[in-house]
């Protein structure tokens, strides 16, 4: 690691924001290092968008302070805007302009030189050159998202904030998009990307999990899984039509020691935070000949569902 990567790109402490008296982000500490891809995960309404908006000066935090790219998030929003590429959750470019017109507009607003050359370069980089004259409104989700990314990187930002960039985009386009993000990260960009997809989370260097405005877990995927101290069983029905697996799911959910039961197709995942308690709670069912029980490593999704359930308990 070079010295430059040790200087955090984002360093905020105690970030808090309320809407109509309800805390949407509460006391959030966040450090993000250079050149890394951070996955920002959490259920809907957990405050991801709000946090991102505070980081780039679009919302004023009620409490907390910190820096983004070395600039104060409260006082230097203008400077931050110049060096951040922010891709909004909803498509934010003009549907009645063509791809080229949109990019030209963005380039001019940022006051860039060589507008045409830069726009051409961005079009080529994202494979948009053949569609340059199409209206943005006529594009499919995947192409819109490419255009939005092209608009974000036009001014060569140091930090990309991407808010659910791949929502509603097909798997192929998602994969291409992530390849782009990795290329950009190799070039030294830092990326904070919010997502609901587990496979995307696994492509991040680090993940940040937020629920009800609180940062609940962070680290590499294996580290987050390990830190959850979750034990998991996978239950597979040997015979039967699957109705009894649903009944089993309902039964197990009631038990102390079982923290989470989730079906994955025909298979049931049963997790608990206390291994001994989980094993004790499921002793009778584990010898039921209708099912095959096997111990599995908990998946990231198990961990998230468990974290969400736990924070909900704290929240109430």
């Amino acid at each position: 690691m070079s010295a430059a990567t040790d200087i955090p790109v984002i360093a905020v402490r105690g970030l808090t924001k309320s809407f109509e008296g309800r805390k949407v982000v509460s006391d959030l500490d966040l450090t993000v290092n250079r050149g890394q891809i951070y996955g920002f995960l959490g259920p809907n309404g957990s405050g991801k968008t709000t946090t991102i908006r505070m980081l780039c000066g679009l919302l004023t935090p009620d409490g907390g302070s910190g820096t983004c790219l070395g600039y104060d998030i409260r006082k230097q929003a203008e400077a931050i805007k110049r060096q951040v590429g922010y891709m909004t959750q909803k498509f934010g470019l003009y549907e009645d302009l063509t791809i080229r017109e949109n990019l030209t507009f963005v380039a001019r607003v940022y006051g860039l030189d060589r507008v045409k050359a830069r726009v051409d370069q961005a079009l080529e980089r994202l494979g948009l050159d053949e569609r340059a004259c199409q209206l943005a409104g006529k594009l499919s989700g995947g192409w819109k998202q490419r255009l939005a990314l092209a608009a974000c990187i036009l001014h060569e930002p140091k930090l990309l904030l991407l808010d659910e960039p791949t929502a509603g985009v097909d798997p192929k386009a998602r994969r291409d998009f992530w390849d782009q993000i990795h290329t950009l990260a190799h070039e030294g960009l830092t990326v904070l990307v919010s997502t609901h997809y587990m496979d995307e989370a696994e492509r991040c260097h680090e993940i940040l999990y937020i629920a009800y405005g609180k940062l609940l877990a962070r680290g590499t995927v294996p580290a987050v899984i390990a830190a959850a101290h979750l034990s998991a069983w996978s239950v597979e029905p040997i015979r039967g039509d699957g109705t009894e697996i649903a009944a089993l799911s309902r039964q197990l959910q009631q038990r102390d020691g079982v923290d989470m039961v989730a079906p994955f197709g025909a298979v049931l995942h049963v997790c608990g935070r206390d291994e001994a308690a989980l094993d004790a709670a499921t002793r009778d069912e584990r010898i039921d000949p209708r099912y095959r029980w096997s111990r599995v490593a908990p998946s990231l999704e198990d961990v998230f569902i468990d974290l969400m359930g736990r924070s909900q308990d704290n929240f109430q």
Partner: protein
């Protein structure tokens, strides 16, 4: 399947009602617009204006002159300036529109009268708005017959009627034939500009917000003044094209006179366009959706139409309505455009109407920039 289900109808009905109530501005407008119309039509508008400002040019100060003056005052149509003025002053005041009538009692009036030479009492009326003066003028019709009834007694009784002892010479200035198009067509420029300019820019920011492009715009380093000017300036061209179209129509279809300078008119029109665009932009920062922006435009347009002197004579309105009218840029622009086209007014004459528009524009722009939020809070 029944053709009409009451519960389905009720479901739609209830939903609409709830949605209507949620949109505060729309709801307010539905109450506010009829109330405003009621007040404006009911109280403010009067097409029989009285107490019109007039000034006297007294060539002599005699018993007869004083009798005539008091007869004029008794018609109730004239509010005479306390001090008499010179002919030059009268000309200026008519041009700037400060008075609507100049009444001249010539020198040697009594002398000529007594000798039976039928002197002329000259009444000059500003006829740019013929409607505003018509009743006042007809109130003067019998003045020559009645004004001196009490004075012409005894030895002078033979001067009484037939023919009248003096001549009443009424001169309609700036619009001799009292053609109402001369007044309406130039005024239409102001009305059209007010309506279209405010509506166009009213949608400017709300459209960004409704289409979800606002957040992206705010995330970029563009400043409020840049956004505002960028959104306003294109419409200055649109507005100017409208001005050109109506001016051409005025000249070739309605033969409206072009007394003054086209340059002065153009520059004044651009200022007026800019003022309206600033209003529209302010509305678009207040409204949360395009419907609200439209309604705010109507809310501004209605009093502009009714209280500016376009539809009804300005001086026919009660004092409070005139004060409201004075704050509207359209009132001033109407005086400017009628002044330039019909009276041939120049910079000096229109300045008193120009600076209020300028001030209005600056205040409204300041408000717009204050209201423009650079964050999403």
């Amino acid at each position: 399947m029944n053709l009409f289900s009451f519960s389905r109808f009720a479901a739609v009905f209830m939903k609409e009602f709830v949605q209507m109530r949620r949109d505060r501005i729309t709801f307010g407008m539905m109450i506010g617009v009829p109330l405003m119309q009621l007040v404006l039509f009911g109280y403010a508008i009067n097409s029989d204006p009285k107490h019109l400002p007039a000034a006297l040019v007294m060539g002599e100060n005699s018993v007869f002159a004083r009798s005539i003056v008091s007869a004029i005052e008794q018609t109730d149509y004239f509010r005479l300036r306390p001090a008499p003025i010179t002919e030059r002053e009268a000309d200026w005041l008519l041009k700037t529109g400060e008075i609507q009538f100049a009444i001249t009692i010539p020198p040697h009036f009594s002398d000529d009268l007594v000798r039976g030479r039928r002197p002329a009492l000259a009444v000059e009326a500003d006829a740019t708005d013929p409607v505003a003066t018509v009743n006042a003028v007809s109130a003067l019709i019998n003045l020559d017959r009645t004004a001196l009834q009490h004075d012409l007694k005894g030895p002078l009784a033979h001067l009484a009627p037939n023919p009248t002892p003096f001549e009443l010479r009424i001169q309609r200035r700036y619009n001799e034939e009292g053609i109402s198009q001369y007044n309406v067509v130039p005024g239409l420029i102001g009305v059209v500009l007010t309506m279209t300019m405010i509506m166009m820019t009213g949608l400017a920011m709300t459209r960004e917000r409704e289409r979800g492009t606002m957040e992206n715009l705010l995330a970029m380093p563009v400043r409020p003044l840049e956004v505002m000017l960028g959104k306003i300036v294109p419409f200055i061209f649109v507005g100017y094209v409208q001005v050109a179209i109506i001016l051409l129509a005025a000249k070739f279809l309605f033969q409206v006179p072009f007394e003054g300078s086209l340059t002065i008119l153009s520059l004044a029109a651009i200022l007026f366009i800019a003022a309206n665009l600033a209003v529209g932009f302010t509305f678009s920062t207040l409204a949360t959706n395009q419907l609200q922006a439209m309604q705010l435009s109507v809310f501004f347009f209605l009093p502009s139409l009714l209280l500016s002197g376009f539809m009804f004579p300005f001086r026919g309105m009660p004092q409070w309505a005139q004060w409201v009218g004075e704050t509207l840029p359209l009132s001033h622009f109407l005086r400017i455009i009628r002044g330039v086209l019909l009276k041939g007014n120049g910079w000096v004459e229109i300045w008193p109407e120009l600076w209020p528009i300028l001030l209005f524009m600056l205040l409204v722009s300041a408000l717009a920039l204050l209201r423009y939020r650079r964050t999403l809070d």
